[in-house]
Homo-oligomer: 189 residues x 2
Amino acid sequence: MFDQLKKIAPQLQGSWERYANLYHRLEVPAKTILLHEGDVSKKAYYIEKGCLRAWFNNKGKDVTFQFFFEQEGVSSIESFRKGIPSPITLESIEPCVLHWIHKKDYNEVMKELNTIPEVREQMAALMLNRQINYMSHFMSFIRDTPKERYLNLLKEKPHIVKRIPQHYIASYLGITSVSLSRIRNAINK
Amino acid sequence: MFDQLKKIAPQLQGSWERYANLYHRLEVPAKTILLHEGDVSKKAYYIEKGCLRAWFNNKGKDVTFQFFFEQEGVSSIESFRKGIPSPITLESIEPCVLHWIHKKDYNEVMKELNTIPEVREQMAALMLNRQINYMSHFMSFIRDTPKERYLNLLKEKPHIVKRIPQHYIASYLGITSVSLSRIRNAINK
DNA sequence: GGCCTGCGATAACAATTGTTAATAAATGAA
DNA sequence: TTCATTTATTAACAATTGTTATCGCAGGCC
């Protein structure tokens, strides 16, 4: 779970085990809600096995916002870090093996890690990359047609198309499942 | 230019003037390009007066990505911070009074500021907020219709609608200027 | 003033997407 | 296995948006 950080800050030696003990293992079936839209998030998750989606309710329909897979950390970042109501729901798509940490413990770990300049830089770089990812994802929405977005997804993130039910992908692409079905049909010709 | 930071780190007293001297004043007419798509950014700008837009070329048409106004810092963040070719062009919309700083100097200032925990926290919070802004902007694209996005813009950021030519706003909303004109016509009834 | 350019509105038609509904296939649980 | 639920496809029609082109207006520049 801390593989990357261990390389950067080996001087923390004994601390890693202590950190790992703050995480709690959790197995959940598919379609389990881990955080409800509107609630304040107190837990951050790490995915050992399975996948999740973040979605929100829009006029009675659910709109999928993002997917998460193995070896990824998951939270409603604004809710978890700022203590405000979450704009999104977190839900398992497949049966999952997760590890969660309480906000209180997470903050303690971060406090310690932040004393190490190398780790701090690494964290800042991670945040920058996350921001750049959101920006380029957003750019594709004002640049490309739904058909182009689907073809991009097939090329750039085929694991999503292979693993995620199509109607979730449709709303992730900003279209209806009917329209995605038509687009797929048009491509196979 | 450092108003916010002065409150957080008054102990830097004499440094502010030194920092301010690293900035160069620059006046430009409208439609001046400050950074070309594909070039590596070496300068970050601060807007004293006027406004800019970030746009990129898509199949011969330019697509506006973001607007910037007075008292805002502007750069192609991935190009400036990571030294990679910029995915966007920066261009003035109105005649502007700008202040720019060279990357080398910027890094020096940041190095000093990063030694102060309070400033570091403030910077991290700023980055977090930027990311949250991009996320919620993106959410509006998979949630709302073009008409709803325009109505949101009118409500949330009326200064953009008042000040920016309509065809730039259209591509910012992900639609053509013809379609935006139709939407405006439909609203006025 | 006269001219050019940029900007916005509108029309006509093509293309795409949304909506609703019906159906079929796949999946999962008892 | 059987049954119920979920998921994907297709059709028909409505609504929206894109494309192309024309027109009028206002601002800036000579």
